[in-house]
């Protein structure tokens, strides 16, 4: 187990290092460009050159990268030009918001997908299976923005039960809790469709395995066969994919955040990129990579917990 962590931690650090260098090099390769991005199209060339010198951007790339790394290690990620705040604070706030959304969504996606996926895969092509398959295919194939707009027109415009935006500011008479309902619902519906079909396929395969026959012919009630023998085996294949959903939930829900004006990490990255807020893009990319690698490790770990055959 210790070796597992050492190995993966080393891999994580290596990935972070490589990605940070790539992002740094791409956005800061030509020194003039950074100052130009900072100052905008109407600044004179003298102003650009001056700022370049002031920022020390005329020094070679490896030197600047080393300096950047040193500062980053000390917790200084730079200053956000877009939000006029230290990058650390900007990221902290948005990441926190996104984590809240992601946690709520994940807490719904996993039990819902397991329940429906297992119920569907238990008896292939039964009426229940067909119904669940139809549901999961439909929700997975509607784009997030369409799903968002559709739910908003029903619950906001028509019924008036929920607010149409989720700015996390308790104003307009809507509490933060009610603001979260729609974004969470859209993500859960969209993402579950995919996870349900994964679990269903795995469950169908498991139900045909000889050990399920062994359990049934032991005289075990079907409910126990499913719960004790099938579920754990059926979760082995989808578990890594389920863990990868965390990655999507944190870095990939830009559309939903935009539709509901949610102040999350994805939207922050989009804005930073559009605004050419280099310090924020660099730090945000690192966070995204960290999440991606960390969820991969989590996936491997969950896989090992479920399947004793790969515990060495």
């Amino acid at each position: 187990m210790a070796r597992f962590f050492a190995k993966h931690l080393a891999f994580l650090l290596l990935t972070l290092l490589v990605v940070s260098f790539l992002v740094f090099a791409l956005s800061e390769f030509s020194p003039g460009a950074v100052a130009r991005k900072e100052l905008g199209a109407y600044a004179t060339q003298e102003q650009v050159d001056l700022l370049t010198r002031q920022m020390g951007l005329d020094r070679p790339l490896p030197v600047r990268y080393a300096e950047y790394l040193g500062k980053a290690a000390a917790g200084d990620l730079g200053y956000s030009a877009r939000f006029k705040l230290p990058v650390k604070d900007v990221i902290g706030k948005h990441l926190g918001n996104t984590a809240l959304l992601a946690a709520l969504a994940f807490a719904c996606i996993v039990p819902l997908s397991m329940l429906l996926g297992i119920a569907a895969g238990m008896r292939e092509s039964s009426r229940l299976d067909r119904a669940i398959l139809l549901f999961s295919t439909v929700v997975a194939s509607i784009p997030e923005f369409a799903l968002g707009v559709f739910l908003a027109s029903v619950f906001v415009v028509w019924l008036g039960w929920l607010p149409g935006t989720a700015t996390l500011v308790a104003g307009g008479g809507w509490s933060v809790a009610t603001q979260l309902v729609l974004p969470v619902a859209v993500i859960v519906l969209f993402d579950s469709g995919y996870v349900i079909s994964m679990i269903r396929a795995s469950m169908i395969e498991v139900m045909q395995r000889p050990y399920i026959r062994t359990a049934v012919l032991k005289g075990m009630p079907l409910r126990d066969v499913i719960l004790r023998h099938a579920v754990r085996n059926a979760m082995i294949n989808p578990i890594t994919v389920i863990m990868l959903q965390i990655n999507y939930l944190i870095a990939g829900v830009v559309v939903v955040e935009t539709v509901f004006a949610y102040p999350g990490f994805g939207r922050m990255m989009l804005e930073a990129a559009l605004f050419k807020d280099i310090a924020l893009v660099e730090a945000g990319a690192l966070v995204a990579v960290f999440v991606a690698v960390a969820t991969n490790i989590l996936g491997d770990l969950a896989y090992m917990v479920l399947d004793p055959r790969i515990r060495a």
Binding site: R209, P210, T214, V216, K218, D224, H229, P308, R309
Partner: protein
Amino acid sequence: MTDAPLLEFRDVGIAYATRAGEVPVIPALSFRVSAGEAMGLVGESGCGKSTVALSIVRYLGRAGRLVRGRILFEGRDLATLDDEELRAVRGRRIAMVYQDPMASLNPVMTVGRQLMEVPMIHEGVGAATAHARAIEMLREVNLSDPEAVMARYPHQLSGGQQQRIVIAMALIAEPALLVMDEPTTGLDVTVEAAVLDLVRELRRRRRTAILFISHNLGTVVRVCDRIGVMYRGELVEEGSIRQIFTDPRHPYTRGLLDCLPVLGRDKRYAPLVPIPGQLEPALSRPPGCGFAARCIHVDRARCTSAPIPLLPRDGARGHRVACVRATELAPWARRRAEGTAADAAVVSDPVISTQRLGKVYHARSGLFGAGRAAVRALRDVDVVAVRGQTLAIVGESGCGKSTLAKVLTGIEVATDGHVTLDGAEIGRLGVDGRSRELRRKLQMVFQNPDSTLNPSHTVGYAISRALRRLRDRAPADPSAGVARLLEVVKLAPQMAARKPRQLSGGEKQRVAIARALAGDPDVIVADEPVSALDVSVQATIVNLLAELQAARGTTLVFISHDLAVVRYLADHVAVMYLGAVVEFGRVASVFAPPYHPYTEALLSAVPVPDPDRQYARILLEGAVPRASERLRGCPFATRCPRKLGAVCDDTPPPVQRLPGGHHIACHIPTAELETLQTALVEPSREER
């Protein structure tokens, strides 16, 4: 046996729904199993024997359906049971043991838990009682250290241990009927022997009735009192072991016995007689005898007009036959070897040979491949294949025989020693490094033809491609070449247009052989080419190989775990254990005393399809040690029943050379081995 039967099939018909319509897999089947009795059901794959097994526990899947008749168990019609009652029968009154023990056990649950479930479900006992019962049961199936075994996962146990767990799981609730579906298929011959012995012993102790389903007559003999022979879903003959084996009346039963290789058989003197034709699909069922189309005794007028009933034979209690000519057929005689193998042919013209051949695998582990564990798959292997003859390599799984095949064919390369083909060194040449001429000279046939034929290519394409690649120039007319090769392996030329999925297992293996023959090779290395085939199909392929060899002078290196087939086909035999050759020689000398103690154990484990010939058995204790362990002494020392003492552990055994190129690597002098090993004598020798 006159009291009410425990299990009774009354005119049972079972059909499967398929796209082509409902297929009657079992048209009408009747038989009985009494309490405490062991009945065997024998037949080739597709004869419906597994369907019978699953119908007893009402587990036919959604496609299967009982279309007629009744299955009575303890006087109750199983079809009338509701879910609750059915569950009370399953596992409690009727238990099952399956073919593949690894697949039958839940991989993510400890075997202890899986065992404990049975009494917990059926008797409502607590975990502590169930645990105690499980331990007791594991002891009864001769598993050492049951406490430790309980905590293991299935993948941490050997195949033999897994099957013991499955048997323990079946017997823990003390069922009245144990249904065993091919319980030893896929296990090594030594493991199979131990499992069969265990079943016999448990049966004697517990008086459980057994329905034993197998394609192997040899294993059935060891366990059963009675045998039913099935063909196309029907019982064609039923009787006591003795009746079936000494006086088989149905031509199919005779066919099965004739195509079964037994230890005394030799290709020169007692050829296997395959059953002509092949199993027809169950979809079309002509009136009359289902076997008529393949039967050599057929009388069209009588055999194919009306259904043939299963009738009792006069004067033979319990013997029933479904054949109109049952009483007309001449008495059956077991074919026996009639002469001694010609000992004249001495090692004269070696085609391919190995000298101190070694292969070490380095298993990579750790972060940067640091901790390297070496696995020694081959150690100092010396074997010789003589031109136009067959060299067989035998041993249990993991003995290195497949690695040897891979090194010979260049799929792997040697790490030590030499492989010589026609005087040229090829041990370090991988397939890609071999010239076209060398590849032409040496071809391979694999165990599973399914995975070696590309499913999207026609047979003709596969063979013509081999023709193009192995010949120096493209043949003028490739289709003529394909047709010629198909003819050589006795397939119709029309087969060239077929895809592999339209072929039977035997046909696929013929195509694989035809492909290997495309370049007219000097040597064919065949790795378990008949292990996945039914006995009758196996007989035709084995005969085909023998004929091809006689006609073309091809040298055959035949890798097999089946000693009876090896005895039949081989001229020379190398017995391997843990990567080393422990015995090598002419087949007649290897299969007769003095043997290496390992050869002796292997031979004693071979199932013998003859109720009169139950040999003394030598059971191997312990497990095959890991090949990575550093060996100082004899590789077999840890399991040898004739171990002398410390010398076996510490000193490599000397290679004792006997006349006729027979080598035995053992510390025990051969003269002493010969006097010790008299229990196992080949039937052919016994009679002389």
